[in-house]
């Protein structure tokens, strides 16, 4: 039997959203581990059920996230993310229709990226970047997904 993927919203176009934000997760033993565990657990639950895929990149002080899936689902989760007090200065860089998903395999891969690797994607300079370049940077980074990730399993296994 093949794996089933839910259809949360019929006939919704595939959408892509990328934003960058500044982390507000406190310093102190355990704080980062607990908050990221919580974010990844929410992503594992919500993104699987809503068939969202993507990657969350962290580089010490900033987040950048790519979300792909049915348009309503992407925006539904983005509203939750926007209201989250663990980050601020959220700037949406890409919000557009996508022909195919750039990263279809992960409910939410979590990557850490040293400044050097992210420098060409530095969120401060991102506003001026063409979206294709931003996306390409994220896809290149995500080639390391197997290192640390929450793979997409559609809700009932997969």
């Amino acid at each position: 039997m093949t794996h089933l993927r839910p259809v949360p919203v019929a006939d919704s176009p595939t959408w892509r959203l990328v934003y960058a934000s500044t982390s507000l997760i406190e310093a102190g033993p355990g704080a980062f581990r607990a908050e990221i565990a919580d974010i990844l657990a929410s992503s594992a639950r919500n993104n699987r059920l809503l068939t969202l895929t993507g990657v969350l990149v962290h580089n010490g002080s900033r987040f950048m996230q790519l979300l792909e899936g049915p348009r309503e689902c992407v925006h539904f989760v983005m509203d939750l993310i926007r209201a989250d007090t663990r980050h601020e200065r959220i700037g949406v860089l890409i919000d557009e229709r996508a022909e195919v998903r750039a990263l279809p395999d992960w409910a939410m891969a979590f990557l850490t990226s040293r400044d050097k690797e992210l420098s060409h994607l530095s969120p401060d300079r991102l506003e001026t970047k063409p979206s294709a370049e931003i996306l390409e940077g994220l896809v290149t980074l995500s080639e390391r997904c197997s290192e640390m990730s929450v793979p997409l399993e559609p809700p009932p296994g997969g």
């Binding site: 089933l4 581990r33 607990a34 908050e35 594992a44 919500n46 059920l49 962290h58 399993e153 809700p155």
Partner: protein, 392 residues
């Protein structure tokens, strides 16, 4: 199905590390497509809608029914009691009967399967080296903006024998972390809430677990004592602290060392029964047997009825007189625990008088300076008679 109902369901999954789902898949839609030709889109729509309404009448409002490209996915209410396999069988049978009695559904073939979705992948991610690097980079970045965070106290482990009076043996040792803070030695979770709160308590418990598992591995022999590893109830109480702890347990202890037991500490005796049951349930998910710190004088045993604690550890009061005056109440307390399948250990026995008073009050196990001295390594099981002439 609206997005908010999916989200509400997802929220109810919070804290669950796995869930069994039912997948129903139509096997021969392509065949039917050929048969119906141009009429197929309408027929297909009708099949899906009829089946959806049929299934939704057979599930509970708390279950979630999702459409899939060629079937349905049923996510059960996380608190459903019916076993997943039985539920899947029942729904498949009902649907097949329904197909037989409905003209345009007669030739539809269905497969049904129970599948488990687990957060196992998340666990390995949380314990990966890359995560450790991300954590270090976060700390370095925050150091530029925040005042320095209070560090985790350095600690070393001590092993305290828990003596079973009936057998005269020590087959269990509890682990006590010992730290020196500002030149003063202290035991256990001496972490003020202002210096990192629950996250720091969790991190302390993680580090204790890693050290304890290493000590247990180094001493892994059939005759070794079981080890009780302390974990603060706050680490297990919320999902975000519980997950990293469970990930750590899976990585460092699960399946590698047997004879580990979690010892839940600091649980407030007036916590609601539901909270107690949840926290002890999380602990029991990791080790088959668990201990729980309790106050014999204020504990309400009925609140622990569903907690399935194996051994309660109760600190003896410094004043033996108090135990003697409350002997009847303590005896009732111990009898009540025994009826529910648990036992109590009297810890902090500073003198043999504590052991005798505890024995008179019905305690089964004893620990403390007067029973045996603290060890720096776990021990093999051994015979001990603290009351005899060679006692400490």
């Amino acid at each position: 199905m609206g997005l908010s109902s999916v989200s509400a369901y997802a929220r109810r999954l919070k804290g669950k590390t796995q869930i069994d789902t039912t997948q129903l898949q139509f096997l021969n839609l392509e065949e039917l497509e050929k048969r119906y030709g141009d009429r197929w889109p309408q027929v297909r729509g009708r099949i899906i809608e009829t089946c959806e309404s049929f299934i939704s009448r057979r599930i509970r409002p708390e279950d979630l029914l999702l459409r899939a490209a060629n079937g349905f996915i049923i996510l059960p209410d996380p608190n459903r009691e019916e076993c997943a396999e039985a539920f899947t069988r029942r729904i498949k049978l009902d649907l097949e009967k329904f197909f037989l009695g409905t003209d345009y559904l007669k030739s539809l073939r269905l497969s049904a399967e129970t599948r488990n979705i687990a957060l196992q992948d998340l666990f390995s991610a949380l314990e990966s080296e890359a995560f450790g690097r991300a954590e270090a980079e976060h700390a370095a970045a925050r150091a530029c903006v925040d005042p320095p965070a209070a560090p985790l106290p350095d600690f070393s482990l001590r092993f305290e024998s828990i003596w079973t009076m009936r057998t005269g043996h020590v087959a269990l040792q509890r682990i006590l972390p010992f730290s020196v803070i500002d030149g003063v030695g202290s035991w256990g979770h001496q972490i003020p809430p202002s210096s990192g709160g629950d996250a720091m308590v969790m991190e302390f418990d993680r580090q204790v677990l890693i050290s304890a598992a290493a000590a247990a591995r180094a001493n892994d022999a059939p005759s070794r004592c079981a080890l009780a590893i302390p974990v603060h109830f706050r680490t297990l109480a919320s999902v975000k602290h519980r997950l990293p702890y469970m990930a750590c347990f899976k990585e460092h202890a699960h399946g590698r060392v047997s004879g580990l037991m979690l010892h839940v500490c600091g649980l407030p005796m007036d916590a609601p029964a539901s909270v107690i049951t949840e926290i002890t349930g999380v602990a029991r998910n990791m080790t088959r047997r668990i201990l729980c710190e309790a106050d014999a004088f204020s504990m309400r045993p009925d609140r622990f009825d569903d907690a399935r604690v194996d051994i309660f550890t109760c600190a003896a009061p410094a004043d033996i007189g108090l135990m003697e005056r409350r002997e009847v109440a303590l005896r009732v307390f111990n009898a009540r625990l025994r009826r529910s399948g648990a036992m109590a250990a009297l810890t902090d026995c500073r003198s043999l008088g504590h052991v005798s008073a505890g024995a008179a009050a019905g305690f089964a196990h004893f620990a403390g300076d007067s029973v045996d001295r603290l060890k720096r390594q776990p021990e093999k099981a051994y015979r001990l008679d603290p009351l005899g002439p060679q006692g400490p």
